[in-house]
Amino acid sequence: MKADPKGVLTGVHFLDGDHAACEGAIAAGCRFVAGYPITPSTEVVERFAARIPTVGGLFIQMEDEIASSIAIQGAVWGGKKVMSVTSGPGLSLMMEHIGFAVWTETPCVWVDVQRCGPSTGLPTQPAQQDMQQIKWGSHGDYEIIAISPNSPQECFDLMIKAFNLAETYRCPVFFMMDEVVGHMTERVEIPSADKIEITPRKYTKKKPGEFTLYATTEDDLVPEMVKAGDGYKIHTTGLTHDERGYPAMTIQAQEKMMSRLINKIRQNAHKLVDVRMDSCEGADVVVVSYGITSRIAHAAIDEARANGLKVGHARLVICWPFPEKLFAELAVKVKAFVFPELNMGQMVRELDRAVAGKAKVISVPHAGGTVHEPKIILDAIVEATR
């Protein structure tokens, strides 16, 4: 279906990433946000609070991030598309509710405008330090989807993708911004509503009595949904449950549920590959990056190419699930990968696993607080070609 024109600010704007992300969410159909102020993400909810009353929806500032991350899930079961917005310390508080959203299959978008940690760290300065936390921070095994934009324009465009993927797979989708992308102001072009494709919620056509809350088929591991108030009298729980949503305290039920929830993402991982490849064919070295670091890498790659080096660039737009197959195939064609990140080496662990020794993997870590000097990335590229 197409976007509701009421929420779409069609035209050319000069926006920072936080504001653009908010517009993307509204265009995507988000009508409920629960949030708690935290730098550098606050502008997202400030804009939502100002914009949403005349679009038809609401914002509530909750008492903390724990409340925000579960209020949005209540709102999903009431029928809304939702997001919550935070940064490092808030994200740490939200961890338990990632698991609740996974286990109850509650579609929701979580925006993390990353800043420096651990703890209060450098609240106003950039990092990419939460990339592994979102994947492993909630207890138990689970799969999520994570998207990383590198510009305000992408904050708009990819946010729509984030909402659509949340509906398609009924899992939390993380929108992994950083302080620089959140606060940089650039040209943002918002298309007309009829050019924006929206994935509607997968509501059942079955009547109450015919519908089983978590029933799936072999071909489609994502169940249909209903909302409260429509007469289905559903039960859902964070306990391990059967197809009815009733608690099922058995090893068999755990195995069945776990494998379906993992497989609904893993079996579709090939559809969830979004890597922007630039001159990777025939390259000796491929720089891997995501988010703001991809723009710094650009400068280093340009200079390396000017010096005659054959350098490709693979930018991860979807970071989770990590595109293992793509890199395993690329690994036999190149000498080395160079992976700069604004952390001490997080996603590079995934790359290392995928490459499995078939090429050199060089991590270019950074403690955070600012972006890399391009020279450091260039040095790593030069070293990789040796």
């Binding site: 009508r31 209540g74 108030g229 306990l239 608690p247």
Partner: protein
């Protein structure tokens, strides 16, 4: 009742439709008061005249947290302490729902305390029913924020020396529109109060004192469930409109029950709609007044 006295096959439990009988038997111990409170709630639902398709129940974690699973409504068994914020999202997302939070004292007032205060302050349109058994039952009888001074708990092995909360006073101070306390002995009053609560607007709070014979009573040699019911019977005084400051509980001491607070305050949603109508004029159409059907599903 059937007219054919020899045929009992179609004799129906009047609460059958309200309870999820495919989930019985329930997990609660013999003598536990939670089932009694649930029975009262089922009766309240049965006679309240509301369309039960539009009533939802949300629980947290713990023995009382399991109530959502046994009531045949849209029902949500959420995370520990977070039933109120989940219910807040559910209610605001679909305002035509009548949302009930049903959980225990540890869930609502220890780990979830902050959410209780703020939902009451906002006058979120929720009925909160708190089963107070003065202990953590599910985990084996640890000290709770409601444990009175004196009794032994597994994490207060020499007797509790921490002060406890006076729940109706908290609810009153935070702005609840309806505050009542009953015990598992007062089944008629409790069912009536729950029905009153279901039909009222704003943040409504009912405390239900319940025996936990397996842990609290046994460890403190207070007898079984019936002994606690006798205690409730003998030591309770009904005092409607009592000053909530003066209804504090003590170990096996006097109990004041009744409807303490019943007042009107605009709900969060009413306040938002009224305020934004004034602030934004015609560009704002009040939220939730067309059956909650806002935006795209």
């Amino acid at each position: 009742m059937t007219q054919d006295n020899n045929n009992y096959a179609d004799v129906k439990n009047p609460l059958m439709d309200v309870l999820r009988h495919d989930r019985m038997p329930h997990i609660w111990c013999p003598g536990c008061g939670i089932g009694t409170s649930l029975n009262c709630f089922a009766r309240a639902l049965e006679g309240c005249g509301l369309n039960l398709d539009k009533v939802a129940i949300v629980s947290g974690i713990g023995c009382t947290g399991r109530t959502a699973g046994y009531i045949n409504l849209d029902s949500f068994h959420t995370t520990h302490g977070r039933a109120i914020p989940f219910a807040t999202g559910l209610k605001l997302s679909n305002p035509e729902l009548n949302v009930v939070v049903y959980s225990g004292d540890g869930d609502l007032f220890a780990i979830g305390g902050n959410h209780f205060f703020h939902a009451a302050r906002r006058n979120m349109d929720l009925l909160v029913i708190c089963v107070n058994n003065y202990t953590y039952g599910m985990t084996g009888g640890q000290v709770a924020p409601t444990t009175p001074l004196g009794p032994t708990q597994t994490t207060m092995p020499y007797g509790n020396f921490e002060n406890s909360f006076n729940l109706p006073f908290i609810a009153d101070a935070c702005g609840a529109t309806y505050v009542a306390r009953w015990t598992a002995y007062h089944v008629k009053q409790l069912a009536k109060s729950m029905q009153e609560g279901l039909l009222k607007k704003g943040f409504r709070f009912i405390e239900v004192m319940c025996p936990c014979p397996t842990l609290y009573s046994r460890r403190n040699k207070l007898g079984d469930g019936v002994d606690q019911m006798l205690y409730y019977k003998e030591k309770s005084t009904i005092k409607n409109e009592a000053n909530t400051k003066e209804v504090e509980l003590s170990y096996q001491g006097d109990i004041i029950v009744g409807k303490f607070v019943d007042r009107e305050r605009p709900t969060w949603l009413d306040s938002m709609n009224n305020h934004l109508s004034k602030a934004l004029g015609d560009s704002f159409s009040p939220y939730g007044t067309n059956g909650g059907n806002h935006g795209q599903d």
